[in-house]
């Protein structure tokens, strides 16, 4: 069975290491914060100006002056900090944020990512995605393996306008875990009940299977 969104988030949470500063994008990436492994301390950065972002507030604690980059009401944990947008992207650009998790419409076998624009259809803007992918030390993409038409989102080349070039290191899709290497996508893990044949059939870009490929565990 392909993974659901929470399972994708849960698998990405295994990539978190103690002491990391992490920026989570909108959608599946946001769910990762629900699955931080026991004994691991991380700090969430939100690019509108928070380090130490906490969970959503209780009803009585909602504050219009305290939102995250997805414009959701949030809280601040003890020791958290507020700062302005230029400062926020300064710490991103300087590589202080250890891990960025974001969604994508397409990823190419050399690590290019497209996730901001569909010409003639969607013109919402890139927000902070171009800054994040250009500077993050480590980028994991969380996404469905195929688009709603069933077409592969892991491609030889992106067809949509790019957000960044050669920047994605790892993909966790509903079908498995993939490293992006100089030799294209390498399947490291497959979702329980998903076959390597299915993964191969749904991956349009160059794909190899790791010698030690294994079933994903949670």
């Amino acid at each position: 069975m392909p993974l659901n969104k929470d399972q994708i988030a849960k698998r990405i949470a295994q990539e978190l290491k103690d002491g990391m500063y992490v920026n989570l994008g909108i959608g599946i990436p946001t769910l990762v914060s629900n699955y931080v492994p026991e004994g691991i301390e991380i700090m969430l950065q939100s690019e509108n100006g928070i380090l130490g972002m906490g969970p959503y507030p209780e009803e009585q604690d909602i504050d219009a002056d305290l939102i995250n980059a997805g414009k959701e009401t949030v809280t601040l944990l003890p020791g958290g900090v507020y700062f302005d947008s230029a400062e926020s992207f300064g710490m991103i650009r300087a590589g202080k944020v250890d891990l960025t998790v974001l969604g994508a419409m397409e990823v190419s076998e050399n690590g290019d990512i497209a996730n901001w624009k569909i010409p003639g259809k969607m013109v919402k803007g890139m927000g902070g995605a171009m800054d994040l992918v250009a500077s993050a030390k480590n980028i994991i993409v969380a996404m469905q393996h195929t688009n709603p038409k069933g077409e592969s989102k892991l491609l030889p080349n992106c067809s949509l306008p790019l957000t960044g070039v050669g920047c994605v290191k790892k993909i966790v899709s509903d079908l498995g875990v993939f490293d992006v290497t100089p030799n294209g996508f390498v399947c490291r893990e497959y979702a329980p009940g998903v076959t390597l044949e299915e993964i191969q059939a749904k991956t349009a870009g160059k794909l190899s299977i790791a010698d030690d490929v294994k079933e994903m565990t949670f």
């Binding site: 100006g49 928070i50 009803e59 939102i67 947008s85 803007g125 890139m126 927000g127 171009m130």
Partner: protein, 232 residues
């Protein structure tokens, strides 16, 4: 008199904003937007504005109000996805839009405020936003040259300010407002609380009053929330 920056209200603060002016407007989404001045701009009916703002409000609030009345000719923003009227005007060609990566936009404004004409950033290298921009390699990585930004008027909303124009922004209302307050040829600040000099601890001032030209105590803040999320 002297260094007192206080004006009566929003209408007086924006009275010399002319058709075709370039404005910076603080806020992230609807968080920390200058509600009073936006309402005054609608009342004044000034047109052909170029608005530099991270977002474009929602259909019936924030900069969406100035879009409804077709007072904006051009937007410079990073994300405008919350506004259907914006998308309509853009696709029909009525509105010109310059989409800019969020960190590049924030830094262009900050550099403008600090008198730095240009800088290099890797954001957007290899993408369509790199077209026509100077590319340079530093330490093996590719960067785009981006220009500092200033505006005829910067309009920000601060949590607190004093009569000298010193400003404090609470929580995530610092966002773009802090840098914008420094990048206006004329900077207008509306504040929730207006106090006398010395009442704000000097260590706690986010923007020194030297950058601010006009300040007034705003009123009737709606502080609308875009996505009201609570703990499940």
């Amino acid at each position: 008199m002297g260094l007192n920056k206080v004006v009566a209200g929003a209408d007086e603060a924006i009275k010399d904003i002319a058709n075709g002016s370039t404005l910076m407007l603080g806020g992230f989404g609807l968080c920390g937007i200058p509600e009073n001045c936006i309402a005054a701009l609608v009342r004044k009916g000034v047109r052909d504005l170029t608005c530099i703002s991270n977002n474009a409000g929602v259909d019936d609030f924030g900069l969406g109000l100035l879009l409804q009345t077709r007072q904006i000719r051009k937007m410079m923003s990073s994300y405008v996805g919350e506004n259907a009227e914006f998308e309509r005007q853009l696709l029909s060609g009525e509105l010109e839009v310059d989409l800019i990566p969020q960190g590049t936009l924030a830094t262009r404004i900050a550099m403008g405020g600090w008198g730095i004409p240009a800088f290099f950033t890797p954001a957007g290298y290899g993408t369509e936003i790199a077209l026509g921009k100077e590319v340079r390699e530093f330490n093996g990585k590719m960067y785009l040259m981006e220009m500092g930004l200033t505006a005829d008027f910067s309009i920000v909303k601060a949590t607190k300010g004093d009569t000298l124009g010193n400003l404090v922004f609470d929580k995530t209302t610092k966002n773009f407002s802090e840098a914008m307050a420094k990048a206006g040829k004329i900077t207008i600040a509306e504040v929730e609380e207006l106090v006398a000099p010395g009442e704000i601890h000097p260590d706690h001032i986010d923007v020194p009053g030297i950058y601010v030209h006009r300040i007034f105590k705003g009123s009737n803040y709606e502080k609308r929330i875009e996505r009201r999320t609570i703990k499940k």
